[in-house]
């Protein structure tokens, strides 16, 4: 251990008893991996720009940590955003941001990889770079600084972060990231210029190097064009795992000491969802659907139980109820592990594939409320968003649930969806009341229905990417209306803060010009924007004003099909043509069916890439 790491550890331990949840900052959890620095060629630190208990609940973080460490010549450590109390103490004492496993300063690593799970964590990225003593902009960094890279869903439009990152990894990293790290190893042995190295990295599938793409703007603020330098792909297309069943999956995950948000084993039953909800970015960028076989899942379950000792296993995916072997896999896990008191949970259940027996099976250990997401209040609007569920589906599902003994139902909706009318809002209240009435009719006492609404945020790479977000005042009026309308002692109404959704929309469809705003807001103290107690809307607006940038231009403008989108040079495999076609269909209130059930919808992800839908049931 070097002097620096010992000194950091000693200093941190002096004040650790005085910060909230010291376990966040110690990194010696069960199954954490501590590699010898000098025995490994490439040192990567995986950074999650939120607190420990959020970051450790993220499956992708866990997969990549163990994946990189599975190579003897790589070492991967972790870092999370220190909570505000910890940050204050670190800054006061000049302690740099350090990696949890070794207490080594982040700037000593070769690669600093951030995962971009949501736009509201962008300010934390700058804060973490700053705490690490790494210059924010690539142009200010030197050879001794780490490569700053990003991945995850928001990497499909990382433009607001462009000046701060060396490159982005689009798509699934199981094969791509090791390839990149091998290039870094080569670069350490036989260094070439920064430019030459980045040119090499840009050849790896899904690697996007922002500085090789020139963005020009028109006078009215729209993008005139995006031009790729010679030698790099004109359009960067995501990396993809062809055989999910054979892909790396860690069965010796870290078991934190403190309670984290999703404190259980996670078994990834499949990847991708082709239901085709038109607002959903995940449903577009993770295509096609690929399942794992029951044999693989049962073997992984056994290994997970033995290596973690956890009391619960979650069968995760974008829509686990759609996994073709869900029933036998759940039953087998329960049969085998209930004597050890290991329970199964499913993170989300679709109304139309809701199976009360399945729900009962998984609820054997814990009896919590059931959550359904109709997303919109009328059939017309549900057709617009292509959320193929009907009111009958919802009533049947809740009837089965009430009869089976549940009395708490949560319903998720979105407000501000394209084409929404008064009728659609009334539809939300109507559904909530019908569910509550049904509960009463079936003799459930203490029926309680929780209605949550979030405000629609148009996301890049979705059919609704051309849509504007509704204005805040209007969204707030709708929230108020629903609050009145849902006045009923059996119904509880929650809604998301509209100003947070507004900023999310700005960055979701943002371009490089937002980088200055981001830096300004960070310097003015913005961080943890996703946490309502730290979100400082006024400071953000002040930053926009200061830099003469109109946030409304990004959030509230309806885009034309022939506008150049800030992310036109980045592709998830789903073609822009298909997204346009889907947008058009939406406005016709026409459905597009799941390609697992009918014909190919022509989204474009399967041809040319040697991948296809892979179902095991």
């Amino acid at each position: 251990m070097s002097n620096t790491t010992t000194r950091i550890r000693e200093q941190v331990e002096r004040f650790l008893p005085k910060v909230l949840k010291p376990s966040r900052y110690l990194g010696a959890e069960w199954n954490s991996i501590h590699k010898d620095w000098d025995e490994t060629d490439v040192h990567m630190v995986f950074a999650f720009p939120d607190v420990y208990e959020v970051g450790m609940s993220h499956l992708g973080t866990r997969i990549l940590y163990h994946l990189v460490n599975s190579f003897p010549w790589f070492a991967c450590e972790r870092v999370f955003a220190p909570w505000v109390d910890m940050e204050e103490k670190m800054r006061a004492r000049g302690i740099p941001l350090y990696a949890l496993e070794s207490f080594r300063p982040i700037r000593d690593f070769d690669v600093l990889g951030f995962t971009l799970q949501y736009e509201m964590s962008f300010s934390n990225i700058l804060n973490m770079l700053d705490l690490a003593g790494i210059p924010l902009r690539t142009s200010e960094r030197g050879q001794e600084d780490p490569w700053v890279i990003v991945g995850g869903p928001c990497a499909y439009n990382p433009e607001p972060l462009a000046p701060f990152i060396d490159f982005a990894l689009l798509g699934e990293s199981e094969e791509q990231l090791p390839e990149v790290l091998n290039l870094v190893a080569e670069q350490k042995k036989n260094p070439v210029s920064r430019r030459e190295f980045l040119l090499k990295v840009a050849q790896v599938q899904g690697v996007y190097v922002p500085e090789f793409y020139q963005v020009d703007y028109q006078e009215d603020g729209r993008i005139a064009g995006i031009i790729a330098e010679p030698g790099v792909p004109k359009v960067v297309e995501k990396a993809i795992v062809k055989d999910l069943d054979a892909a790396f999956f860690p069965t010796n995950p870290i078991v934190p000491y403190m309670e984290i948000v999703h404190d259980r084993m996670m078994l990834e039953v499949m990847r991708g969802c082709s239901r085709g909800c038109r607002f959903c970015q995940a449903g577009m960028i993770y295509r096609p659907v690929r399942e794992r076989s029951p044999e693989t899942l049962l073997r992984q379950t056994e290994e997970l139980v033995r290596s973690t000792g956890y009391e619960e296993i979650s069968l995760t995916s974008l829509s686990s109820g759609d996994y073709s072997c869900i029933q036998p896999v759940v039953q087998e896990i329960i049969a085998k592990y209930s004597p050890e008191r290991v329970g199964v949970s499913l993170p989300s259940l679709r109304i139309d594939s809701f199976d009360v027996k399945l729900a009962q099976e998984v609820q054997k250990v814990r009896k919590s409320g059931l959550t359904f997401a109709p997303e919109a209040g009328t059939q017309r609007l549900r057709d617009v968003i292509n959320k193929g569920v009907t009111e009958e589906n919802l009533m049947e599902a809740t009837e089965a649930a009430f009869k089976a003994g549940w009395s708490s139902i949560k319903l998720y909706f979105m407000i501000g969806l394209p084409t929404e009318t008064q009728e659609d809002l009334d539809g939300i209240a109507h559904l909530a009341k019908n569910v509550a009435n049904l509960g009463n009719k079936l003799g459930r006492r203490n029926v309680n229905v929780t209605v949550s609404t979030s405000s629609f945020v148009p996301k890049s790479h979705t059919p609704f990417q051309w849509e504007p977000q509704e204005r805040q005042a209007s969204l707030e009026a709708k929230q108020k209306y629903l609050k009145e309308k849902l006045r009923d002692r059996r119904i509880k109404y929650n809604y998301h803060d509209a100003s947070t959704s507004f900023l999310e929309a700005v960055f979701a469809k943002g371009d490089r010009r937002l980088a200055d705003v981001l830096e300004h807001a960070f310097r003015a103290g913005c961080r943890f924007d996703g946490w309502s107690e730290h979100f400082r809307y006024d400071v953000w607006m002040e930053s926009f004003r200061e830099l003469g940038i109109d946030p409304s231009f990004y959030a509230h403008r309806a885009l034309d099909y022939d506008d150049v989108l800030a992310w036109d040079h980045l592709e998830s495999g789903v073609k822009k043509r298909f997204l346009m076609q889907e947008h058009f269909q939406a406005l016709q209130e026409a459905r597009t069916l799941d390609c697992r059930l009918t014909d190919c919808t022509g989204c474009g992800v399967c041809p040319d890439r040697g991948v296809q839908i892979d179902l095991k049931g």
Partner: protein, 241 residues
């Protein structure tokens, strides 16, 4: 089978919060394939019960936990298998089968001893230290303000303190402290030191305290017993009389 285990919780394990410790033991037991007994009811949980809570960042040299198993097992095997699955810093020291239905550790442990290292903000000699401690011990009532969400409450901390000695070691003071632990509460070591600093002007730097609980006992008629020691039961019998 109810197993009472003595263990130490040192080094980085001292940061594992008391509330998290049950989960740490439960998961270690499951990894070790030791069949735990569970409570009945809606939401069964493993029957794991600790003695008095150890504050975060306080080391414990000899703490106790009761775990109930679903079947009889060889103690040495249980301890061996469990030890392999516990985080470094938690060392199992000893185990003994106690009768099912025995009084809970929480109910029998009533005394604790601490060893504290506190740096001095200004150097003082051993005489000045001894003087300050004697004066403090001679006080009959020592009010101490505790703050919580509900506001301030003043507590007399003097009755809980049974023994207090100190020695100067370089630029720090080493304090040995014995306190009573009871249903109605106790006193925290840092409270005693803060009170010594404030009332007797002892120049303690409380920001850099190192605290170790050296033991927790069944105190009866001036004697300390271990809850593993069958003799400690004399205490209960006389109590029952």
């Amino acid at each position: 089978m109810l197993l009472r285990i003595a263990y130490s919780k040192l080094e980085t394990a001292k940061y594992i919060a008391h509330l998290d410790l049950t989960r740490v033991f439960e998961r270690a037991m499951r990894r070790a394939k030791i069949p735990m007994a569970y409570s009945e009811g809606f939401n069964p949980h493993p029957k794991i019960a600790f003695g008095s809570a150890l504050a975060v960042a306080v080391e414990g040299e000899r703490e106790y936990v009761d775990v109930e198993l679903r079947q009889d097992m060889d103690i040495r095997e249980v301890l061996g298998r469990l030890q392999e699955q516990l985080p470094s810093g938690i060392r199992l020291l000893e185990g003994r089968v106690v009768q099912t239905g025995s009084k809970a550790l929480m109910a029998v442990l009533n005394a604790a001893s601490y060893l504290i290292r506190v740096p001095m903000a200004l150097p003082i000699g051993p005489e000045r230290l001894a003087e300050g401690m004697d004066a403090w011990l001679k006080r009959e009532h020592i009010p101490f303000a505790r703050y919580s969400k509900k506001g301030r409450t003043d507590k007399d901390i003097r009755p809980w303190v049974k023994r207090l000695t100190g020695s100067v070691e370089g630029d720090a003071v080493i304090v040995e402290l014995e306190v009573e632990v009871g249903n109605s509460g106790s006193v925290r070591p840092e409270e005693v030191l803060a009170s010594l600093r404030d009332l007797e002007n002892l120049p303690f730097d409380l920001d850099a305290l190192q605290i170790k609980r050296t033991g927790i006992y069944v105190h009866y008629e001036g004697q300390h017993y271990s809850p593993l020691d069958p003799d400690h039961k004399r205490g209960f019998r006389s109590e029952a009389r």
